[in-house]
């Protein structure tokens, strides 16, 4: 009896323990996720490729990629009234050590990490891009490797463009060159210094050369690996063109050490070592010449409105690396408010004045026959490509632009109407009613990241500095004069060479002409901001605008006013500060001139 009770008790206790501990078995598992293990990434070709593709992310795909605005709006070419936009803030002088508005540091180094992961793991025998065909697999890997070097060059170029600069002690520095994957362990105590500007330029140019060897010249034909379906990837031609841009930067006066070029003040510098200086320009010219000599490169091209917007299905031959978009985003941002846009960036009087008369003379020259009563007639045809002005037809067949106080494009019509009296035309569709709610339409756009004219302009600028307007070495195929002449003809419609010949008399006046050609040819292609800086030109010219009134005789009277300051008054405004947080972590990073 007692025993039974004891047994019962025991059984009970046992079952109790069972109940208790049955519930104790660990059930702390994770849900399956859509995360991939590292080993999967490096065996599955789509994933492995994707690591490299990641480095394309962040490359500009629209012309207004500076906070949805044109970087030109931070220069004397244009302005914006989007007050929280980075271009507005730049021009207002809001760049500080702790608030680098143009910062690209994190993005670029992140891309380096992806590229180096790929170079380390993505090209071995662990992964097949074409299974069962070793020859094709090798071709695939070759292309990928070439892309990797191009992308490393591209992000190096962006770093150099933004952060490259002189230091307080007269060095010209770039960024810390990184050629392998960085691990947390090595970065924990790392104190990387900046490499010299020249070393960075050489590193990037070498990467361009390696890419050139590995990549197809262009993507065409029906090949799966290097055919037209891969258009948009880095090509050998793109690598060559990128190299010209780097060589141009590296030759520019702003990026020479004190032993070669000394800055005296804004817009004022002295060349101390003429030979070394000219050598860099000669190198830049040679690099550009190499690119120009590429088979099928073609002559100097005249950009048409329809190359950029309302464009054909096939990429214009001018564009070496481009993006394609078929929408109306740009129009929503830059159409005049009357046509339901918000006119985020508007061109300046300063830019308009830079377009010469159709006979080639600048409008300040009396021989230009410039008529202040009808300022927009007989001008370089690029004016109308870039700008809507008083009297233009808006779009294909819209209203005539009237910027007077009672006009639809004037300052009193809408709070968003242009403060300068001009509206942006370049790169924007001509279907002026495309945003109408009843007829919303898209337009095909191309945005060239690299185009052939950039290469020609780089050559002209470098050749002029190295050998003068009409000089060259025997290996070169053109002189600076040849190129500027063709460009003014095909792009500007200027056939007369009177003024050109006059300017070709000496390097300095031809330099001025080339700089102006670059300004008007590459307007609204994010070029002016960096060009002014590398040339050490004055940066603080205020943006002017035009106003239109009727006088007593009801004639149109144009008057000009300053509408926005350009608060770049110090030498330090030639350069961009390094990220302060990086300097805190790595004190070996010497900051640019004036940013300490």
């Amino acid at each position: 009896m007692n025993n039974t009770i004891k047994t019962n008790k025991l059984l009970f206790l046992c079952s109790l323990c069972l109940l208790f501990f049955a519930s104790c078995n660990d059930d702390l598992e994770d849900k399956k996720t859509n995360l991939w293990d590292t080993s999967d990434v490096w065996t599955i070709s789509t994933m492995a490729r994707g690591v490299l593709n990641k480095a394309y992310e962040g490359m500009p795909t629209t012309p207004d990629f500076y906070g949805s605005n044109y970087l030109d709006a931070a220069t004397d070419n244009a302005m914006t009234t989007i007050y929280d936009n980075l271009c507005y803030r730049l021009a207002a002088g809001e760049m500080t050590q702790r608030n680098n508005i143009l910062g690209v540091w994190g993005t670029a180094y992140e891309k380096f990490q992806y590229i180096h992961q790929f170079l380390l793991n993505g090209l071995g025998d662990n992964v097949y891009y074409v299974r069962g065909n070793d020859e094709q697999d090798l071709a695939y890997k070759k292309r990928l490797e070439g892309e990797a070097y191009f992308l490393r060059a591209y992000w190096g170029y962006r770093l150099l463009q933004v952060y490259g600069g002189k230091t307080d002690d007269g060095q010209a520095l770039g960024y810390p060159i990184v050629t392998s994957f960085l691990t947390m362990e090595e970065m924990e105590h790392a104190n990387l210094p900046r490499d010299t500007y020249e070393a960075c330029a050489i590193q990037i140019m070498n990467d361009c050369d390696r890419a050139t060897e590995l990549l197809p010249l262009e993507y065409k034909g029906s090949d799966n690996i290097i055919g037209l379906t891969q258009l948009g990837r880095a090509s050998a031609l793109a690598a060559k063109a990128l190299k010209t841009q780097v060589a141009l930067l590296a030759a520019s006066p702003a990026f020479q050490p004190d032993s070669i070029v000394k800055i005296n003040g804004m817009g004022d510098y002295t060349i101390l070592d003429e030979t070394a200086y000219k050598q860099k320009w000669a190198r830049a010219a040679a690099v550009a010449d190499q690119c120009i000599k590429t088979t099928g490169f073609g002559g100097v091209y005249g950009l048409k409105a329809t190359d950029l917007a309302d464009a054909p299905n096939k990429t214009p031959s001018e564009f070496i690396l481009r993006s394609y978009f078929n929408n109306n985003t740009i129009e929503k941002r830059y159409f005049a408010p009357f046509y339901l846009g918000t006119a985020r960036t508007v061109p300046s009087q300063n830019l308009v004045d830079a377009f010469p008369a159709s006979n080639g003379f600048p409008i300040s020259d009396s021989r230009s026959n410039y008529d202040s009563q009808s300022p927009y007639i007989n001008r370089d045809k690029r004016l109308d490509l870039n700008v809507y002005h008083q009297g233009s037809t808006y779009g294909k067949n819209g209203l005539l632009v009237n910027i007077s106080d009672d006009g639809e494009f004037g300052r009193l019509f809408s709070e968003h109407n242009s403060y300068t009296g001009y509206y942006l035309a370049k790169g924007i569709s001509k279907s002026q009613n495309m945003l109408d709610i009843d007829a919303t339409k898209n337009a095909i756009h191309y945005y060239p990241l690299l185009r052939k004219t950039q290469v020609y302009l780089a050559y002209a600028e470098a050749a002029n500095e190295a050998w003068g307007p009409t000089g060259k070495t025997p290996e070169m195929s053109n002189t600076a004069y040849d190129i500027i002449k063709s460009l003014r003809k095909v792009s500007g419609g200027i056939t007369s060479t009177t003024y050109l010949d006059e300017m070709a008399a000496d390097v300095a006046s031809f330099r001025k002409l080339i700089h102006n050609e670059r300004r008007i040819e590459l307007a609204f292609e994010s070029s002016r901001y960096w060009d002014l800086r590398r040339w050490l030109d004055p940066l603080d010219e205020s943006v002017r605008g035009v106003q239109v009134n009727l006088d007593d005789q009801l004639d149109t009277v144009y008057s000009y006013v300053e509408v926005a300051p350009r608060n770049y008054h110090a030498i330090r405004d030639y350069y961009v500060p390094l990220p302060y947080s990086e300097i805190l972590k790595m004190p070996n990073l010497i900051n640019n001139l004036g940013w300490n």
Partner: protein, 923 residues
């Protein structure tokens, strides 16, 4: 019958005292066994009875807890109709980031918000480590235990209650009319060197505006035209409660309905239905079972725009933006036969709020939530005296669905503002959606399991030994890719009491979490405490005025995983979007994103906590005091190392244990109750004082204190020191300020580091956004059948940014009446606000002392007056009539908006006041 001493219910100190103090293991209210008052206390715990909360009618239970419990800081929020549940902090901010307390409702982690006070028995706050340790790895921020009412022995008791009331807006912002707006906008243009935008004839037009339908010169007062100042609510509840030795039951049902403030279109409505049944069955002397089932339904209907969208449109659309409607003759269209008007718009602004609210369709959200507990309780006295076991399983389901239909009606903008005869441009196209569509769906499931074996015995009438071994499991999953929450813990608690004088307690808990990989998924937490009831000592017998005096202290080490993201220890990649390739982007190729490096050495975040307390009942139990001092050291907070490592690493950085925070303070509850003649009364005060400081963080030392986290409170506010307005207080000449362009009338800042100019190195701490002190005061009076209850709450030493659109009048935004107070050397030389500008005013509109307001306040939160009829009829036991009010007034330095919720009435609904009356009957 033997006394059961486990699962003991806990208690009220004095008859009218609604606050009691319970010991840790006694909190869980499972009604096996009899109750007793345990006088030896170790832990820091506060309790409020559900009954006390009944006088505060609100859609969210959490709102009624403000100022009710020492140690619980309840911070209100701004949100739409019935969505404004409070944030709950136990003893302030114990960490940075998520510091909110965990809520346990009837044994499992659940939201308390849609409960009604009538179904709540008690709400208890666990504050110290010895109490929190029993609730696992999610409990270190503090635990709020809500238990619902269970049946009690005795004859069945049925009650019903009806309450009706009005909800009205309290403080709301005021805005300028079209004429004043246009005049000041012209001034802003002039300040910026631009010509006036509105001509004199425009201004005349606005002056003589015919109102909100004036075609050329509309003047829409959005706040008045689109909102009612009042809405109503109704609440009906009933309950049955009773039981026999064998079966006890409690049943509650409740309906709560309320409307929104929107005056145009269908009023938003909110309908809540609660049903709960709790059942206890004693099967035999050994086995008892409990079964609880609760269901809640909510249905919410509104227009296409939700409350927040409506409020934002109201507080951001300028009065002259568009006429609400345009006559068909003006448009040159035919009169519509459906009586739907043509709507106005502007070139900038295609939407018309009137069209959106009145004619645009509807949204409907509904959810059903079910919460269930099943428990088995086994009395094992036959095995060993005082031995018990239990197992409770809990399972919840939550299903949410949002449906809607959207219609768009054409809007028209005047296309030629400057011409005499208007022409129009269509800005929106009519599109009537025929089908309803599903706009959102969520399903959530929770599962909980608890089992415990408890032993309790009194040896030799002196030595009380309690021991408990418990296992808890909690699982929560959301439909979709979100990681589940999985936690379990096994704990062993032993406490020993000697002669009700001394008590020692120790708990060991092994906590498990799926946030960590298997090798590291358990954390050993421990807590220990002791108390000494001094008043029981012989030498205290002579001190007459002390009825009870107890000293206590506890210390613990608790793991915490609730703020730890899932999978931090797993390296992973994910597939991204495609890069675009080929002519016309016909082809593409995927990108691969790196997600994270797993940190296999990641440790648990944990908290080391000390609590020292004193409890006293004095003057024949008339005065009750409970005081607790605490130090919480939160260690190994998990975060990114990017503050320490170069950004050159890109995403190839792991999360690590990067921070420590120390939070110290005290909470106190004082209670006095007495009688004067026929009036009995009670006065109560509770307060929580806390302040935290970040003692370690992954960051580089900066030259300016305010730029670092370490050394500051996690809620400290950083900004510039404003010293006046240029031109008015400070001369413009000679200043050097690098925070954006500035001119006369803009804010001047102090150059704190004396380097000659103002930049980011002149930042300083300008305030603290979390109250150092929050408190509640209550008064209860009882005279014959009359009862009066008054409750006030407040916060002290707290600041807020006055940086919403009401304060920041700039660019092309709407102007509030504060714009009238702008500085202008000629038009308003005595103005105190910065000059007006059409730009963003980067110099002015940034964090600085100019925009810091002292947000300390005292609010009369709740008042209730009632009269009770006892046995008015033979079949009615009691009838009680009452009238109530909430948020009757608030005292603060901030006068125009609510100090506690400065964005209320702007980003969403204003703070509301309820006035109601009702009757309750007990049969």
């Amino acid at each position: 019958m033997k006394k059961n001493q486990l699962y003991i219910l806990v208690f009220v100190l004095a008859a009218l005292n609604s606050i009691s103090i319970a010991s840790a293991q006694e909190i869980e209210k499972v009604n096996l066994g009899t109750s007793r008052i345990d006088t030896t206390q170790v832990s820091a715990v506060s309790t409020v009875q559900g009954k006390t909360l009944e006088s505060y009618t609100d859609c969210n239970l959490s709102n009624s807890l403000q100022g009710q419990l020492a140690g619980l800081v309840v911070r209100s929020t701004t949100n739409g109709l019935g969505n404004n549940s409070s944030s709950l902090y136990v003893r302030g901010m114990s960490r940075n980031g998520d510091s909110q307390a965990m809520v346990i409702l009837d044994g499992m982690e659940r939201s308390m918000d849609d409960l009604i006070p009538e179904e709540v028995a008690t709400v208890t706050v666990l504050k110290d480590a010895a109490a929190k340790i029993l609730y696992g790895a999610r409990a270190a921020n503090g635990v709020i235990i809500v238990t619902t009412k269970r049946g009690h022995l005795g004859s069945s008791n049925t009650w019903a209650k009806v309450e009706m009331g009005v909800t009205s807006m309290t403080r709301t912002p005021s805005y300028l009319n079209s004429f004043d707006y246009a005049t000041l906008y012209n001034e802003a243009r002039e300040n910026d060197g631009l010509n006036p935008y509105y001509s004199t004839s425009d201004l005349d037009g606005y002056k003589n505006s015919k109102g909100n339908k004036d075609l050329r010169y509309p003047n829409v007062s959005f706040y008045d035209d689109f909102l009612d100042r009042q809405s109503s609510f109704q609440k009906v509840s009933l309950g049955v409660n009773g039981g026999t030795e064998r079966t006890k039951y409690a049943f509650v049902a409740n309906y709560l309905g309320t409307d929104g403030f929107e005056a145009i279109g269908d009023k938003p409505t909110l309908m809540h239905l609660n049903i709960r049944g709790n059942l206890d069955i004693k099967i035999n002397d050994i086995i008892s079972v409990t079964g609880d089932a609760a269901a809640r339904l909510e249905r919410r209907k509104y227009g296409v725009l939700d409350c927040g969208q409506v409020m934002n449109a109201i507080t951001s659309t300028r009065p002259n933006e568009y006429p609400l409607t345009i006559g068909y003759e003006d448009l040159g269209l035919q009169q519509s036969t459906d009586n739907i008007p043509y709507f106005g718009a502007s070139l900038d602004h295609a939407a018309n709020l009137y069209a959106d609210m009145a004619y645009s369709g509807f949204s409907e959200e509904r959810y059903i939530k079910s919460e269930n507990n099943l428990g088995v309780f086994i009395n094992l006295n036959s095995l060993a005296d005082g031995l018990k076991a239990k197992g409770v399983i809990s399972f919840d389901n939550y299903n949410y669905l949002k449906q809607g239909q959207t219609n768009t009606y054409s809007t028209y903008a005047i296309q030629n503002r400057l011409a005499d005869i208007p022409t129009f441009l269509k800005r929106k196209k009519t599109s009537l959606q025929e089908n309803q569509s599903i706009k959102g769906e969520t399903t959530t499931r929770s599962l909980g399991w608890k089992s415990a074996v408890d032993y309790s015995h009194l040896f030799a009438d002196k030595h009380q030994l309690n021991a408990s071994m418990a296992f808890n499991y909690y699982h929560r999953e959301v439909k979709g890719m979100t990681q589940d929450i999985d936690n379990n813990d096994v704990s062993l608690t032993v406490d020993y009491g000697y002669n009700k004088k001394y008590k020692l307690l120790a708990t060991l808990s092994s906590m498990g979490s799926n946030r960590f990989p298997e090798a590291d998924d358990r954390f050993l937490s421990y807590a220990t405490g002791a108390s000494w009831a001094i008043s029981k000592e012989a030498f205290m017998n002579s001190v007459q005025w002390i009825d009870y005096l107890n000293l206590k202290a506890s210390w613990g080490h608790l793991g915490y995983d609730r703020s730890t993201s899932a999978l931090l220890t797993a390296t992973g990649w994910s597939q991204g979007s495609k890069i675009k390739l080929g002519e016309q982007n016909i082809a593409g190729d995927y990108k691969t994103n790196f997600v994270r490096i797993g940190n296999s050495n990641l440790d648990w975040e944990y908290s080391n906590e000390l609590n020292v307390g004193l409890e006293a009942h004095l003057f024949t139990n008339r005065l009750g005091i409970d005081f607790n001092y605490f130090i919480e050291n939160r260690r190994d907070i998990i975060g990114s190392l990017t503050g320490k490592l170069s950004t050159m690493l890109g995403p190839f950085v792991y999360s690590d244990n990067i921070g420590d925070i120390r939070n110290t303070g005290f909470d106190v509850h004082v209670d006095w109750n007495d009688k004067i003649g026929a009036v009995s009364y009670r006065l109560g005060l509770n307060a929580t004082v806390s302040k935290n400081k970040i003692t370690k963080w992954a960051e580089m030392p900066e030259s300016v204190h305010a730029l670092n986290q370490v050394g500051r409170s996690s809620t400290s506010m950083v900004g510039y020191k404003a010293i006046g307005l240029f031109g008015k207080d400070i001369p413009l000449a000679g200043s050097d300020q690098r925070l954006g362009s500035y001119q006369e009338g803009d804010i001047a800042y102090a150059d704190l580091n004396g380097d000659g100019y103002v930049d980011q190195y002149d930042l300083m701490e300008v305030g603290n956004s979390f109250p150092t002190t929050s408190y509640g005061i209550s008064v209860e009076l009882k005279y014959k059948q009359w009862e009066l209850y008054v409750h006030g709450t407040g916060e002290m030493d707290v600041d807020t940014w006055a940086n919403n659109s009401y304060y920041w009048n700039r660019s092309s935004g709407k102007y509030s009446t504060l714009a009238m107070d702008r500085y202008h050397p000629i038009n308003n030389p005595s103005g105190t606000m910065p000059r007006l500008t059409t730009t963003n005013g980067t110099n002015n509109f940034r964090n600085s002392t100019f925009w810091v307001k002292d947000a300390s306040f005292f609010r009369l939160k709740n008042i209730e007056l009632s009269y009770t009829f006892d046995k008015p009829f033979s079949w009615v036991n009691q009838v009680r009539v009452f009238t109530r009010g909430t948020n009757l007034f608030v005292l603060s330095n901030i006068k125009d908006l609510d100090p506690e919720l400065i964005n209320s009435g702007i980003s969403n609904y204003p703070v509301t006041r309820n006035l109601s009356a009702g009757i309750s009957v007990v049969f």
